[in-house]
Amino acid sequence: MTLNCNAGALGYAQTNATIERMTGMALQEPILAQQYAWPDDDLTIIPDWVYTDAAIYAREVERIFHGPTWNYVVLEAEIPNAGDFIRSHVGPTPIVVARADDGSINAFENRCMHRAAEFCRELSGTAKEFICPYHQWTYDLKGNLIGIPFRRGVAGKGGMPADFKPQEHGLRKLNVTTHRGVVFASYADDMEPFTDYLGPEVLREFEATFDGRKLTVLGHYRHSLPGNWKLYHENLKDPYHATLLHTFLVTFGLLVAGNRSLMLTDASGRHGVMASAKSDKTVAGDTKKEMRSYKEGMTLREPRFMDFIEEFDSPWSVTMATIWPNLIVQREMNTLGIRQIVPTGPHEFIIKWTMFGFAGDDEAMTRHRLRQGNLMGPAGFLGLEDNEAIKFVQDGMQGAPNGRHIVKLDPATPAGTSDTLISESAIRAMYRHWREAMDL
């Protein structure tokens, strides 16, 4: 019996069921390994099934988002007071993050223990407790079950079994950690501290952006993106595209081949930081020829829009940190944002952006951040191009079975940190880690 390597939308579950019917045996791990064999064990080739296969996606949710990872869920500034809550996600799973009366931050699934109803319906708010609208089971701000209507029945009839213990039926709780006002949650109970999880080099860049100043939230963007969620990480571990696709970066010297730059990864390969220093120098003639998007003599009617006001203890004017598995920290000069990835299937994900400034910002600085925000988000001069490009990649994989990507740039760095922009070594490092995490 041969198995189709590209199970696609039908996916693992159906294939598995078919095999079970035909053989009377559960699908064995060796068969899975055969079906999803990485081509030639070579990280410079990425097979399409990584991005398109439903079984792979299900395994990612289980082993990555619900596995040993710290997932971004909220900024502390969004839930400053006791009772404040926000709806969030870990992977595709809806959760609630709430601040309890003792000041602690608690994360639990937004799924009633009774009949699974997603009980919290507001995007954010303030509450004393959470009451499921269906049968009014009630939970406190830490997710403990504190009320069941008619638990003892009526007139001695009905009700819950006498031995039912509410304390054993609290909401599914996640572990929570915070660093510099950024809140993370994990399904794993044995997670290393967040600082160890990032590793020293990525932590340094994280702390350059979250430098201890109090954060103020300026607003959100939310958009869907018809592509696989990993493509979003890859786009920000791919400095090559930034020098070619984004005319704004190129023309105004923000990210030009030859600028001082770094594509950093942590030791594990899962996290990365794309960093570059703004340059006023003009683009060299031979470099320019390679860059079709370079527009000679382009000027802005509102040049303030591209000003960089120094405010960070960092040699870089731009850093894009990819924190595995669901967080991007954008420090694009003075426009600052969190991007939270919420996968919804192999072919689509949602991004929630949280744009922020700092408590000390005066009105002029806030305006500057908002003005510069035109670069990013789903209508941003750069942002819309990235979203379009990722859609094109997912489109390109549809209907063409057994396809492969090539990521061979910069062979001198097989996987990991590279100081040239013309490199895909950080993408290879990510897949080295992904294969370990997925055991594939």
Binding site: G219, H220, R301, R371
Partner: protein, 172 residues
């Protein structure tokens, strides 16, 4: 119906009708300029000091200022128009802007006319079979008479849809 006993009241009513019609014509021309992607003409429909923002209802309701597009003056609107026509990479698409439910709300101290209208933007991508509702929202406007034309001194496009479908490539 005209009131034969009160010509002054008739004049006020006729003036209100003419203004309503003039703003409606403006909005129709604005929609046509965007549908046909005549973005230079679109930019010319704003005053030099115009404020133009496309902002989610989520942000607007929470008094948060972040906008998908955030332009503080006509220069930024022109930069947007230039960038979309000459530098930005996005797939070809057809758009249909439909504006309705116009209400003239009153006059500012400086004579600017306050108005609101509902809008719908429908988008067709050339690789998808369907026309999709891309945005639905409200224009909160301030119109100003410049010479013999109306121009927008402010347009705040507040959209209801929680998610933007991938990207907002053209203005609203």
């Amino acid at each position: 119906m005209l009131d034969k006993r009160d010509p002054a009241a008739n004049d006020r009513r006729i003036e209100a009708l003419l203004l309503h019609r003039e703003v409606e014509d403006f909005n129709n021309a604005y929609a046509a300029a965007l549908d046909e992607q005549r973005l230079d003409e679109w930019a010319e429909m704003f005053t030099d000091d115009a404020f133009y923002v496309v902002i989610s209802r989520e942000n607007a309701d929470r008094k948060m200022p972040v906008g998908l597009i955030y332009c503080e003056n006509k220069g930024m609107i022109q930069d947007r128009a230039f960038a979309l026509q000459h530098t930005a990479m996005f797939a070809p698409r057809y758009l249909r802007h439909i504006v309705g439910n116009l209400q003239i709300l009153g006059e500012e101290a400086n004579g600017d006319i306050r108005a609101r209208a509902n809008y719908v933007v429908v988008q067709v991508l050339l690789d998808r079979p369907d026309a999709k509702l891309h945005q639905v929202g409200v224009y909160y406007d301030k119109f100003r008479r410049v010479g013999d034309r109306l121009k927008l001194a402010e347009r705040r496009c507040v959209y209801d849809n929680l998610l933007v479908d991938n990207a907002l490539c053209l203005p609203v």
